[in-house]
């Protein structure tokens, strides 16, 4: 069996007549971390949303474990249960406490036993040092803590693939480290991740592959060394100069 988790093939996505993704192809293997870089508006978020079917694609193919997700017989809810997604703005559920946030998916989507899930959730919270905040409401936590809870909320579903959309962009610079540390830890554990990020140093350190997206076109893809030290395209080079 091939170990390709996610495969996107010539994906086109339009909003009205604005073509946001112009035929993007991308493969993600098990245990692989791919970082998506590119200017604001280049289509990173849209690409991630197409991957977990939050947006319907207009042309091309997306497949997960070899199953074509464009097939009308596919149930998107079943697909999403295997793909975690973490957002720039955390999007924790403000009316539920931290533990309930983590437990909701496994209990309501996977119909797992609550006591068992709660135990796992506690262990996950322990791992991010927030076990004693389990019964606090999200708005009482710092941004960094909220984002780590959001990551753990996705992990509780035991996803085969984790999509992260600029998860540190809304954070105070002093809090970015704690979230990135958690991601580094996940990477070392072999979590398959597709990460849209503006943190170039982070991308250089953890990514196996870096993908540069420009105005909906996948311009260049390669190892961090290739992309950061020896970019082949002018647009990649000028982008990297601008963010440095």
């Amino acid at each position: 069996m091939s170990d390709v988790v996610l495969a996107m093939d010539s994906v086109v996505k339009r909003f009205g007549d604005h073509e946001v993704l112009k035929g993007v192809s991308l493969q993600l293997h098990r245990h692989e971390v791919v970082c998506l870089i590119g200017a604001s508006g280049s289509g990173k978020s849209t690409l991630l949303r197409c991957a977990n079917l939050l947006e319907a694609i207009d042309e091309g193919h997306v497949s997960l474990f070899g199953q074509n997700l464009v097939d009308p017989r596919i149930d998107p809810d079943l697909v999403r249960r295997h793909i975690g997604m973490v957002f720039q703005s955390y999007n924790l559920f403000p009316h539920l406490d931290v533990l309930e946030n983590v437990v909701l998916g496994p209990v309501r989507a996977l119909k797992r036993d609550r006591a068992e899930v709660e135990e796992e959730a506690q262990a996950l919270l322990e791992r991010i040092g927030l076990r004693d905040r389990a019964h606090d409401y999200p708005e009482r936590l710092s941004g960094g803590q909220q984002q780590r809870v959001a990551i753990v909320r996705s992990l509780a579903m035991r996803p085969a693939l984790l999509l992260l959309d600029e998860v540190t962009s809304a954070l105070d610079p002093t809090l970015v480290g704690e979230v990135l540390d958690l991601l580094v830890d996940l990477a070392h554990r072999g979590t398959t991740m597709l990460i849209a990020t503006h943190e170039m140093n982070f991308a250089r350190d953890v990514a196996h592959q870096v993908v540069y997206l420009d105005a909906g076109v996948l311009v260049e893809q390669g190892t961090p060394e290739q992309i950061f030290t020896n970019p082949q395209h002018d647009s990649t080079r000028s982008f990297l100069q601008r963010v440095r």
């Binding site: 977990n52 939050l54 809810d77 079943l78 697909v79 999403r80 249960r81 295997h82 793909i83 975690g84 997604m85 957002f87 703005s89 999007n91 924790l92 559920f93 403000p94 009316h95 909701l104 998916g105 309501r108 989507a109 996977l110 409401y137 708005e139 009482r140 959001a150 909320r153 996705s154 579903m157």
Partner: protein, 296 residues
């Protein structure tokens, strides 16, 4: 022309002292202003009730202690019923209506916002329903239901009391209002909440029930309360069907005693009803906020 911040240092510095006509309202003097205005209002009312040529009659007709008491306790020997029986009718009518309104309002709102193809006919129906029911004056709905349903001569439906027809009418009318309030509440929940829930693989229904609605309802408790207070007062409209609720009872009381204090008692009844409700929801909201938000 270029627009700029106030960068010209050579300009005269602004003056922050209130002009004379604002003096009464700035700083601590706001208190003085409010005291003065309250005193003026009290004096005006007193003038109306005590100095007006008909003041004494008015006070007797509407605020007579003996008649207020009589309206409250009733007097079987004089054939005067207590207004309390009427009050009980109003109370159960609005309690039952409010539960039904909340349920149907939710259902209608759900139909209206749902994108599910299965619900398409319901969506059309729900939209038509809110348009129609918000357009018809409640008193007309009451008359149509109260006189119309018995005409149908159906089992059960056609043989209910006027108060039950009142509950049906109130539910029909207020469900439309409440549905719109809830719908606005649903739209007020940030889209990120829906995305996060759906990303967890929760179905549309579970997302609605566990994530969107709990937040939506919280956001609309104040306007919802407004509608419920209106509903409580509108239980009085069943009097057009002849049901003996508190206003009808007060009118009967007037006819028997030639005194309108029963109406005053009915007014007091409605005021007393709304106040605990308002306080209760205030407490509820405050508790919820305290629980969720930082308060260091």
């Amino acid at each position: 022309m270029t627009i700029d911040a106030d960068v010209d240092a050579s300009k005269e510095t602004p003056n922050f002292f209130a002009p004379w006509h604002r003096r009464l309202f700035v700083g601590r003097r706001g208190l003085v202003a409010s005291t003065v205005s309250s005193a003026l209002i009290v004096v005006a009312i007193a003038l109306l009730l005590f100095v007006a040529p008909g003041g004494a009659t008015f006070r007797y007709v509407f605020f007579d202690g003996h008649n207020l008491w009589l309206a409250w306790v009733g007097d079987p020997r004089l054939g005067i019923d207590s207004l309390r029986d009427g009050m009980v009718t109003n109370i159960w009518m609005f309690l039952v209506s409010e539960v039904l309104v909340l349920f149907f309002g939710l259902m209608i709102a759900w139909c209206r916002i749902s994108q599910s193809p299965v619900l398409l006919p319901f969506r059309v129906l729900a939209t038509a329903y809110t348009d129609v029911m918000r357009g018809i004056p409640l008193i007309l709905t009451m008359l149509i239901i109260g006189f119309g349903l018995p005409e149908l001569r159906l089992p059960v439906i056609s043989s209910q009391s006027d108060a039950v027809y009142g509950v049906i009418s109130l539910t029909l009318c207020y469900s439309a209002y409440v549905a719109e309030v809830i719908r606005a509440g649903i739209y007020s929940v940030p889209n990120g909440q829906r995305l996060a829930a759906r990303s967890l693989g929760l179905t549309q229904t579970v997302t609605m029930r566990r994530v969107i609605l709990p937040q939506a309802i919280r956001n609309v408790i104040p306007p919802l309360l407004n509608d419920f207070i209106s509903l409580q007062k509108d239980t009085a409209i069943v009097s057009v069907l002849g049901a003996i609720e508190v206003v009808r009872a007060a009118q009967i009381f007037s006819a028997a005693t030639f005194n309108e204090s029963g109406l005053t008692l009915a007014a007091i009844f409605f005021i007393v009803l709304t106040i605990p409700m308002t306080r209760f929801t205030d407490r509820l909201l405050a508790k919820d906020r305290a629980k969720r938000l930082v308060h260091e």
